[in-house]
Every structure is written in structure tokens, then in C-alpha cells.
């Protein structure tokens, strides 16, 4: 059953199958594989026609994936617990240091209250926990109209805009 996700601030059906961490077989359909499976089957996965993505656990090093990013159609970051914030740094590094411009998905134990900050560190695709309605969550992107500090979504801190007198959105 396809699950609903938020992508580019709209709710849509998830076209990706995300394989579990312990998966060994790789289906022919569009699939997001764990990093270990990617490393074990890299050449085969690079050669295949159907799009493929990789997902990272919180303790996976994004640098390991950096040389392969050009082969991927999506990168996903797992949030195994509501309070585990490592993925925010993973996203920052993927976007800022490793130059990933494609779809960046957050998935796991997440709700609407995570969305604003997830978007700030560069996620543009979200699969929330089962209990959380993605339609209701859309409002969270507008929780705040401005930001003090720079981040992936807008690297210029407020102090660089204050001087220019930018008005509150």
C-alpha cells in the first residue's frame, strides 16, 4: 500500500519503496536501499535503469555516500526516535558540504512539530509517523515567518538582513 508523503509542500503518494535495514534482495521497482546494501551492490545498482536511492541511519557518515551521489535519484535520512536529532546534521552536511541538490527525504518517528526545522536543514520530502496526518502537518511550514540564524534553506542570518531593512514576511 502506497503511503502518503509530503513533497515540495504538497501531499502525494509515495512512489518509492524503502527497504528495511536488514533487506538483502533488491526489487526492480524504484527503491531506496540502506547504505550497507548500496555498498554491497553498488556496481549493479549504478548500472540498472530504474531509479534508485539510498537511506542513511543516524550514525552513517554522509561523506561515504558523497562520491556516489550522482548516481542517485533520492537520498533519505532515517529518524528512528522522536528526539534523535543527528539527521539534522546529516542533512546539513549532504546539502552544504557534499552538494546534494536532489530530493532529500526525512522519514521515521516524525510529526508536524519537526517539519519547520527539517525544512530549514534542507529536507524537501517527508514521510511522517503513521499517526500523523500529512495534510494537517502542511501548516507547520508557516510556523515562523523569519529566522535568526542561517541554515541550508537560507544561509544569510537575520543580522545580514536587518541592516538592509528587510520587512517581516
Amino acid at each position: 500500500m502506497a503511503q502518503q508523503i509530503i513533497r515540495n509542500r504538497r501531499v502525494e503518494e509515495d512512489r518509492w519503496e524503502t527497504l528495511p535495514a536488514e533487506a538483502t534482495g533488491i526489487p526492480a521497482s524504484p527503491v531506496i536501499v540502506p547504505l550497507a546494501l548500496w555498498k554491497a551492490n553498488r556496481d549493479e545498482l549504478v548500472a540498472r535503469r530504474t531509479p534508485v536511492g539510498v537511506w542513511l541511519k543516524p550514525d552513517d557518515e554522509p561523506a561515504e555516500l558523497a562520491p556516489d551521489l550522482r548516481h542517485l535519484a533520492i537520498v533519505a535520512v532515517q529518524f528512528p526516535k522522536w528526539g534523535d536529532g543527528r539527521g539534522y546534521s546529516t542533512a546539513t552536511l549532504l546539502r552544504r558540504r557534499h552538494g546534494w541538490r536532489g530530493e532529500l527525504r526525512a522519514f521515521g518517528d516524525l510529526g508536524r512539530d519537526h517539519l519547520f526545522m527539517l525544512a530549514r536543514v534542507g529536507f524537501d520530502s517527508f514521510r511522517l509517523g503513521d499517526r500523523h496526518d500529512p495534510h494537517e502537518a502542511l501548516a507547520a511550514f508557516n510556523d515562523f515567518s523569519l529566522r535568526y540564524q542561517g541554515a541550508v534553506d537560507d544561509p544569510a542570518p537575520l543580522f545580514r538582513k536587518r541592516a538592509a531593512g528587510v520587512s517581516v514576511q
Binding site: 546534521s89 512539530d113 527539517l118 535568526y148 545580514r160 541592516a163
Partner: protein, 564 residues
Amino acid sequence: MYRYDTYDHALVAERVAQFRDQTRRFLSGALTEDEFRPLRLRNGLYIQRHAPMLRVAIPYGLLASDQLRMLARIAAEYDRGYGHFSTRQNLQYNWPKLETVPDILHLLSTVEMHAIQTSGNCVRNITTDHFAGIAPDEIVDPRPFAEILRQWSTFHPEFNWLPRKFKIAINGAEGDRTALLLHDIGLHFVRNAAGEVGIRVIVGGGMGRTPIIGHAINEFVPWRHMLTYVEAILRVYNRYGRRDNIWKARIKILVKSLGPEEFARQVEEEWKDHDPLSVITDEELARVSAHFSRPAYETLPQVDPFHVQSLADSRAFSRWAQQNVHPHREPGYAAVTLSLKKTGVPPGDVTAEQMQFVADLADRYSFGELRVSHEQNLILADVRKRDLFAVWQAAKSQGLATPNIGLLTNIIACPGGDFCSLANAKSIPIAEAIQRRFDDLDYLHDIGELDLNISGCMNSCGHHHIGHIGVLGVDKQGAEWYQVSIGGRQGANASLGEVIGPSFAAADMPDVVAKLIDTYLDLRHEDERFVDTVHRLGIAPFKQRVYAGHERAAANDSPVSEAA
């Protein structure tokens, strides 16, 4: 002090709306208890023994009189007529109702206050020297940097879900009144030989179950890089700090396990790739610094004849002036501590009436501003010496002139088991019993400078590790016991206290403190403080005196070892 512009107002208003919605969703069942907990904690709301506790941020301890009046109004209308100042320069309400918290937050926002990040695993309220801007030993005014860092850390998207709480202190003076070495990050602002301002960065200090003095990982980071460098530290911590064990999750454990050199190397590596847009500009420092400009001081002589006469006329006044009045770098001015440590009142507690009264005092005598110290007292920072006598009389009428700053009865204590659901044991009754035992002012003065700190549990909110005498509440088979350490010390030479032996029952605590003091009085050299005597002689003579006649009890009751 810093006043909000339209941007700051908008952000706080949006946070109130966000929290109102989170509370609504929790009350409607859309958010589970487990989901709501970290969300409410990020807004300073704990669920306590009797009621929620709301912790209001007082950024780096600076308050305007209108803000204190609002705190008084909230205490009267939404609580039971009082509040509690904590050791992190915040104010806590012990009896608000969950449903009314959004309304309280709205009221706070009207006076540029909030409860943002006063709890939860994120960057907490940034603390600094309560004499910032007036201390004779100040090198750099830390307040503009504290404000710039406050803004940067507010809703920082990458660091809102850290492994554990994160406390940053800033010091800009030669001496240290911030417990800088016992913070996750301590930023010590200094000048180099060329006169440039930079930061000595200390990381990995902390109290809690594993007290550690922090390590300097960089001797001079240019001030412009305050944000980029802190970001590098936090990224290393966010990625590699332990998340599997709450007792090993603070940054001090990561620094200890990697070693300070390796930790510093990883931070440098991370920092190399910093975003140049986050480098602080001259314009921003100037903009924020303008909020902390020198008040309109009068040109006054250093010595005020009326003040000198009053000191000669009244022994009670001169005693207060000796303990509770502090030097000021402006001639003819002084800083005044209003003691919240009157015997019989829980340390740091203040009533709504007292808050109103202190707000009026600040307006009349101190440019409408005041400070909260980490020793849980209130400070009027800019009082003319000629007004000191009037301030003393006024403060006395409200029970705010106990002349005990720096003395044994200026006890620093957390709310303890009477209120806090984390506590193993009560702290307030212990503080009161000790204060009653040492109520004689002449005796107190003879004992001299002494910090006595009480924490109701290992979270160390009462900073017991750095008390000259530290008391820690411990739980043994469901009973409340108190473990005593001596030799702790705050300041630039901070040290951690050493546990003297098996713990004591509550009723014994005044006697235990009395025996420690007697030992000191017998053995001290002239002009030696209690803590200096402990450092010269070690704990043995103190231990011997305290446990004399209790050998059997001591033998049967193995020492509690968590603090080791």
C-alpha cells in the same frame, strides 16, 4: 539592555501561537504524552509533583522593571503569589495550570519575555556575569555577545534535538562569576597583545553525576567567529554525543572519551568549512552593543560624605554595606545585592509584592534595570553611593536586606523534593535548618566567606559540587539522606568538592555543618577562608571531627559514591 525590534517581537509571538496549538493538540489527544513532553520542555514546562512548573527565561540575567512587574502580575494571577529564581538566572513558577500556560506566555511576550529553550535537549538560556558592564575587572562587556548568541541559538534548526541539554556561559572579566569552567561551553572573552578581542573556548565542563572541569580547546578565537566556532562544536556533539544513556549524553563525556585534543581537532576540521555568512559583522556588533550603552551616570566624587557618615552612624547599615554592596567602575556608584536568602524563606523565592517593590526600587535608584545572579539574588547594578542608605532602609522593610552575601546563610539551593519530581530529597527544609542554626550575625561574620550549596539530586541544580560546603540529597532504600562534600570552589580556580564520607539524616545536617565550621575555626590561619583551610589540610581533620563517635554507623553505611 536589549529591546526587541519588529523581528524579535514577531518571532516570540509566533512561538506563543505554535505552543498554543501544541497544547491544544495534546489536550485533544492528537499528540501523545511522549510526543508532547519534549515539545513542552522546549518551552520550559515541566510536569511536577503538584502542578506543572514553568521556567521563564531571563536572558543572561538582565531584567527591566516593567518585566519584573509582569512577572509579579503573573505570579499573582496565575500562580500562588510568588516565584523562584534559579541558579541559571531564570524564574520558575511552581503552580501554573497547563491550560493557562499559553496565556502566560502571551503576557510575557508583551514585555519581550518568553520561556523558549529553558528546558529540553537544546541550547538553554545563556548566562553571564551579573556584574557585566560595571565590574572593575571587566575586559570585554559580555552582554552584546550573549544577545547575539541568544538570537543565533533560538530555534536553531540543526541543534534543537541534541543528545542532552546544553548550557553556555560567557565571561568578559578577569575574575569569574559565571562558573565558566562548569558549562558545556564556556566562552571567556579576552584581549590579545594587539588589543584585539577574542575568545578562550572552554568545553566539556559540567556538574551532574560526573562533575568535570572544562578544557580549553582554543586559546583565541576571533570574536567574529563566535557563532561559526560554536556551530562547529555543536555539530561534532550533535553527531557523536552518546544517545544511548542519559547519564553519559552530555558533551563532557564525549570530550572525555575522545580526549580534549582529539575533540579540538574534530572541531577545527569542522570549523574550516564554516559558512562565511555566519561571521559576525561590525554592523551587527555595533547595533547590539548600542542597546548596552552606558547609562546616564552623573559625574560624582568617588567618596560620598553622606554615605561615609551613614556607615559610621549605623553598625547594621555598615554590616550590610560590607556584604551586600559591590564595587562599581563608575566613581560615586555601587552595585547592591538584594538578598533572597532570609531565614525562613526558601532560597531564591520572591513574592509578587516584593517583585513590585524591587521594580519600583530599580526605577527610582538604578535606571529601571536589575540583574539576577546565579546565586539566586537580585542586583541593582547602578546605585549612587549617596542613595545606598535609602535603598537599605527600603529593602529592609521588605525583608530583602539580610546582610549575608558571601556568607554561610546565602545558601544556594534548588527547589528540591518539595516541588521537583526529579529530586531524591528535600533541600528547602535543610537550608532553613542550617540558616536557623547560624542566625547570629557576629558569628556569621567571624566565619567569613563561605558558599553553601544544596542540590536535591544528581542534576546538581544547586551547584553543590562547587560549594565550599556542598550538600547532595540521595535516596537510600526510599529514605532521604544527605551527602556532604567540602573544598568545592567557583571562580577562575574552580575546583570540585570531595565527599567526606557516609551520608546523614536531615536532622543531623545543622550539627554536621556546625562541626565543619568548628574544625575550621580551630585550624584556620589568619585571613584564611574555610575553603582555603580545606585545601591546605585536606578533608581528614574535618572528617574526623564530623564522624567522631559515629564510627560504627559509618562502618555499616558505605559511602555513597556517585559523586566520585
